[in-house]
Symmetry: C2
Subunit: 339 residues, 2 copies
């Protein structure tokens, strides 16, 4: 793990610099919001993945640009990621993000929506500067997957997925696709073969799936660890694996009661989500959260993530060297992360 | 004018069909909003301009695609335009759009924001399918200009522009750039030379500037004509030409009072816009609106638009034939439109 942490640390300065330069091209009113959201902490996993894949696959014909560098390509998906967080926070009305005040509480809802729009547009434009069809294809896919993933997640809120695939499809759009895209951008920038590009994409997709599944496990950790109250997904009626496992442990009658209360959203967004029924009380939410933790469903959820980490590892099979080691360590980082 | 109206009418069916097909690819929850916003009236000026420029310049090597047609490329900027209207309505909290209930009143604020995001992402992806760097460059520029134009307009609200350029820069981003992009897409799809592409872009930019200037004149028309109360820009503190002309007609003292009240926004978005002072009363707003109409400042604003229509006409100098006639008629349509 030590080498991965060192590599991540080494990338921080040039990545931060590229982010700062890009923020300066944005309209003045939203620069502060972009800074707050982009420059305050976070490991910048996405840019790091782009850079490691680029370094591993860099061949005779990398994509070059007279004024932009690989770091500029590496920040685009981080910008998309942060833009989606800004819009998410507004939609979820979350008060905390990474343990600090959410941007929309600090700056207001409408400025954050505008800042999110500007980040998406600025990132998209930055990537277009490389004048490469393959890169633009990755970026337009990522934009679409993220926008639709957000909507599908909201559509599914309050519902118990009838099939695992519904949950997996949501986390693919919500998290995994951007991580996949980050790895793929590194491979394309490196001038890698189609075959190697596909391996980068597969690695990223599976790492991203595991990342979100671990995240859904971590949602049932103590507030002092994750910087927000435990059981947030239960409150927002997102039926993640720990909640699904709890549901499975109930009797048929209890299940029916649970499903009925689960369907009442604290803050419905679409018309069909509005309900007259009564949802969980605060006490019930706290009790269910405790039961989920005691039954070790978060730990069992992590086991689910292992399947994806295994697949990600298989994508690295044909590679060797120091960068492969870093990508293997990244898998361990996701497997064992506890905040 | 007759031929242009006939051409516009002829384009409606294939354009509607392309829009319907694309809407079906969007997540179900936002399809109704997209339909409401995209398929209920409007002349579809932007797609029509793409199609006329395409027809005029179509040469030996137009851009082709195995499953998509020119109509698919023509709807992308209409989708961007409608997405920006959806986000605008939410930000402005406008109740009416083209005389009917705004989408966010009918469907809710958050669904409309999500629908706007999805329209932008879907349009962007649709254009990326053509796998053409020049098209993607137009599209990424349009996305950026529109996002930033929206922010710059809000930044300028409550302020009297110190220079005409500030107003012109806002309307360029808000309206003209998308119309420019629509013409340019037609030229690129046609396989036109760089020189002809530039003429299409210039025509569109100037037509778009004129379009918005006429729109700002029309804002002081009767509610029965424009489908919303007269003087909306005054209420929203957007210092358009008719308002600027009125300000110029005041004494120094009156100007000072006007500027102070004008700076108080009914609904400030950014922190620096919040004020303790007292703004215009309803009666004052109605009186100023009447004075602007009586002084014929809307008509004088239309004269300003003529300069841009003249420039647009010059861009057509080297062309001949039926499509040129349509583009000339489009200028007359913008010049004389009264709703």
């Amino acid at each position: 793990m030590k080498e991965f942490a060192k590599a991540v640390l080494g990338f921080q300065e040039p990545v931060t610099k590229a982010l700062q330069n890009t923020i300066l091209t944005m309209p003045q009113s939203v620069q502060k919001i972009a800074e707050y959201a982009l420059l305050s902490g976070g490991k910048r996993l996405r840019p790091c993945l782009t850079l490691i894949w680029y370094n591993m696959l860099k061949g005779a014909n990398p994509i070059q640009h007279s004024t932009l560098s690989i770091y500029d390509s590496a920040i685009v998906l981080e910008m998309f990621h942060v833009a989606s967080l800004l819009h998410d926070d507004v939609l979820d009305d979350a008060d905390l993000r990474r343990g600090k005040e959410s941007a929309h509480i600090k700056f207001g809802i409408r400025p954050c929506l505008l800042a999110g729009d500007a980040l998406l547009a600025t990132g998209n434009k930055l990537m277009a500067e490389f004048q490469n069809v393959a890169l633009m294809s990755v970026i337009s896919d990522a934009l679409l997957k993220t926008a639709n993933g957000e909507i599908e997640e909201i559509e599914l809120a309050g519902k118990v997925p009838s099939h695992e695939q519904e949950y997996l499809s949501v986390i693919e759009g919500k998290t995994a696709w951007i991580i996949r895209s980050a790895c793929l951008v590194g491979a394309i920038m490196a001038g890698a073969s189609k075959e190697d590009q596909e391996k980068a994409a597969n690695y990223g997709l599976n790492l991203g799936m595991a990342f979100q599944i671990v995240d859904d496990a971590l949602d049932f950790s103590d507030e002092s660890i994750i910087g927000k109250p435990a059981g947030g997904d239960l409150r927002e009626r997102k039926c993640t694996p720990p909640i699904f496992m709890y549901l499975q442990s109930l009797t048929k009658e209890e299940q029916q009661e649970f499903i009925e209360k689960f369907s009442v959203l604290p803050s419905p967004i679409f018309e069909h989500q509005k309900q007259e029924k009564i949802g969980f009380t605060e006490q019930e939410l706290a009790e269910i959260t405790q039961k989920i933790i005691q039954a070790k469903y978060p730990e069992k959820t992590r086991e689910l993530a292992s399947k994806y980490l295994q697949k990600a590892e298989e994508s690295l099979h044909d590679f060797t060297g120091q960068n492969k080691e870093l990508l293997l360590e990244a898998l361990e980082y996701v497997r064992s992360r506890n905040k």
